[in-house]
Symmetry: C2
Subunit: 233 residues, 2 copies
Amino acid sequence: MLKYQAIKEGLKKQIQQGVFKVGDYLPSESDLCTRFSITRTTVRKAMEELLKEGYIEKQQGKGSRVRERQTSLGLLTVKGFSEAVGQNIQTEFLQKPVLSVWTSEILFPVSDHDKTEQCLFFERLRMVDNLPVVLERNWFSGAVLPDFLKTQFVEGSFFKTLSRKYLIEVIGSSQELRAERAENHFAEVMQMESGTPVLHISIRFVTNNPQLTIYSELYCNTKKYPVGNSYFL
Amino acid sequence: MLKYQAIKEGLKKQIQQGVFKVGDYLPSESDLCTRFSITRTTVRKAMEELLKEGYIEKQQGKGSRVRERQTSLGLLTVKGFSEAVGQNIQTEFLQKPVLSVWTSEILFPVSDHDKTEQCLFFERLRMVDNLPVVLERNWFSGAVLPDFLKTQFVEGSFFKTLSRKYLIEVIGSSQELRAERAENHFAEVMQMESGTPVLHISIRFVTNNPQLTIYSELYCNTKKYPVGNSYFL
DNA sequence: TAGTGGTCTAGACCACGGT
DNA sequence: CCGTGGTCTAGACCACTAG
């Protein structure tokens, strides 16, 4: 194992396990140098990677601080979601996590390995001011998530739960987008007129555990809240 | 100016101007060290940035090679576009670049500065097997693009033209997505039934020239060809 | 003023690709 | 075998933040 990799993984694990919490400062670079008997170059390489992967932010003169990880995975978010503080946002479980089956609703091809495992499923409705905005349906293998069905979500977030309780991180994603008509069942749940255009987002999340891939199908009413993203070098 | 910045900008300019072409190898790191009387660390920092910005790719044992720049800006592409070699892809100008006006069709707010400048516009239709897939409408200030209306597109690409002829690079983007009904005019151009869902993508491209922002509105028929992207750490 | 991250020097050895 | 990029050492000085 390369030295900078070891430092990086060590720090990452401590962040994930909560030894360093969001907002905490990591030991300074010179601290780490003496502590592990290595040079600044090596320490800085490790920190550089943590920065690139979204775990920390640096400030000259102050230090490196753990931040709420945002993968910057080119993912789309509902505009006005989470950032819009004044908004009245609710999340409602239409189906809490249960044992289910691999279904053809999943538009990305399910891997042969996944097909041989049990399939877990849950479904949520995201609302702004009591208006349904996103219907979110998720499927994934439960093989590497012991006791997931009995687990409480960390801060209401699926991905935080994977990170804190199972040390699983999302390391990649593929998305496909389609404009479709809201059909009977969806139209009703989403409180849309049947036949209204709905934005259908299919996502495959790849994690650092090769046994866990997450398949999500999102249905968005973009009338009042378009989805979007930004990216700057 | 920092040394690594100077090296980086120098190499970047030479790449943009075609001194180093796609596929060419840049001088080796030790070459650059002696040539500019600096150390490996500094050269490597410069190369690192060029890598991150998508200008080069590195191979241990061989060297650093200029590659076709792909910004990895979290942008969406039509699935099967450009990668699908067997496909029969055409691009048709519905409107070649002309002097136009800032219109309310642009969903992102047009900056006050842009509003005071002349507005250029062009419109293209992308087709696969003679089936319209994307209608693309673009607006931007012509202030910093002398003779743009008389300019031929480099390899049929707007962005390559900006890069090669004006040394302007896209450094960021914001996107918004909406599912809408194809209305009369669009439905006709796109050869879709009126009222069919269409994916509307609004993009604001930010460039390294503060005077140039590009506003694009794309309308996609996702029935056969969904749009999408992938991202991996 | 002390401590932090940012830049830079001048070396060394290694892993990889091609001759 | 040589040249390439990848890792690492042991220093130095600078720019920024805060007490």
